[in-house]
Symmetry: C2
Subunit: 249 residues, 2 copies
């Protein structure tokens, strides 16, 4: 059995943020598997088959990748950002656990990538410089009540918060509710950052407060960061800096 | 003013995890500033001055870097992992906010890196595949009571948890107390991962349960991950896989 499976992160968008080990894996691969826009970030070449599939096809896609590897292919599953943060790695292991027992003998590796959360944080300063949490705001795979419970507990713990998938056309009301819960729990002055398409040509960064924030400031390409009580803004020429100090009391 | 300051992440250890933009910054730099073992990861070359300093010297080091940039140097401040997660970026912004007003006119950029948390997660599968939090267990810069409060709230929120700086010789008791609090809040069967020196030649990964975990399993080079209620272990030939499914109820 000479096939293998590598589940890799392409980072948030810029080629300059793709790690050398991910680039090497893509060069050795016979097959690249993933959501269409991510597969399209891998240049076509002779000897490489690119298998793009639709969103919400994660388990079927994962099974396909595992089967290709079992048949001897050298398979790279691509995610944007990091593959272990709300991305394909968990889907591959779900498929593996529930599927063909032979898949457990495969050579499988996860190669980390620069997550959207880390890139968004870097783009404004260091808002995740102290304790923080990371929550997927999509209620496709969990009940909304659980999201709201986590928001309230995160506010009580005074974590900075990074939010993935804040808002889609199919569920516009969740993020409006998120902002209401957070205004109530954290107050209107709390800093919030909307970091859209970080490191891509369409990048836009917007720093404001919960009191000024509106649901329309986010879409599915936006990573949202809410500061802790300690998070500070430094005014200067050009864009302000936002950071969370290392100490707390 | 032609100087600049880039605060970069060298990743957890392997050269293959350093992003091309960080490599390029190091090639353009006149000065590299950081904690001695991290500065030593940058190869010496003509035209590059390496300024290594001791641990707990972060603010003085940050002020030095800002001043060098103001004097026209091209300065790279290095952290291991990601510079925005319990590392130098927050220290530089603390120094900037409290220091020379001219520092606010500097060209400053943060270049993200593969954080220890993401590398540790990838080394065992995808334990951070669902909502999670990230806590620095050192009580050098915050009271222990705040750490304990956050541990209890994180358990109530059912976050997976990533812990930085679990244990040092100067404060061996904190991590023992952490394990007690978590056993009480999460039960003895909860999965815990000790990922030491990930991606370096000294890497060692140990997966066990809170019931079996002992304080000696961690040191300052260990990133600890505790699963959520949902986190699962897949037995197979070789090392087991650990992942947190994408869905929760």
């Amino acid at each position: 059995m000479s096939g293998w499976l590598k589940i890799v992160g392409l980072g948030p968008g810029s080629e300059a943020m793709i790690t050398p080990e991910v680039t090497a894996a893509l060069q050795d691969a016979t097959d690249v598997v993933g959501y269409v826009p991510y597969v399209n970030r891998v240049a076509p070449r002779a000897g490489l088959v690119r298998h793009g599939s639709d969103n919400r096809e994660e388990i079927r896609r994962a099974e396909h990748a595992l089967q290709l590897a079992l048949e001897g292919h050298r398979v790279v599953v691509v995610s944007s950002g990091d593959p272990g943060v709300f991305a394909m790695a968990a889907a591959v292991f779900e498929a593996l656990e529930g599927g063909d027992a032979q898949w457990r003998r495969l050579d499988i590796q996860v190669l980390p990538g620069i997550s959207a959360m880390l890139a968004a944080s870097a783009s404004v300063g260091a808002p995740l410089g102290h304790d923080f949490c990371c929550i997927n705001l999509s209620d496709n795979l969990k009940p909304w009540a659980l999201i709201e419970k986590r928001l309230r507990l995160a506010a009580e713990a005074d974590f900075a918060m990074a939010f993935y998938n804040p808002r889609s056309k199919a569920r516009p009301e969740g993020f409006a509710r998120t902002l209401e819960v957070l205004r109530e729990a954290c107050g209107s002055d709390r800093l919030i950052i909307f970091a859209r398409a970080v490191s891509s040509p369409e990048e836009s960064i917007h720093v404001t407060t919960l009191g000024e924030a509106t649901p329309e400031m986010a879409d599915m390409r936006t990573l949202v960061i809410v500061g802790s009580r300690q998070t500070r803004l430094i005014e200067r020429d050009g864009a302000p800096l936002v950071y969370t100090p290392r100490s707390a009391d």
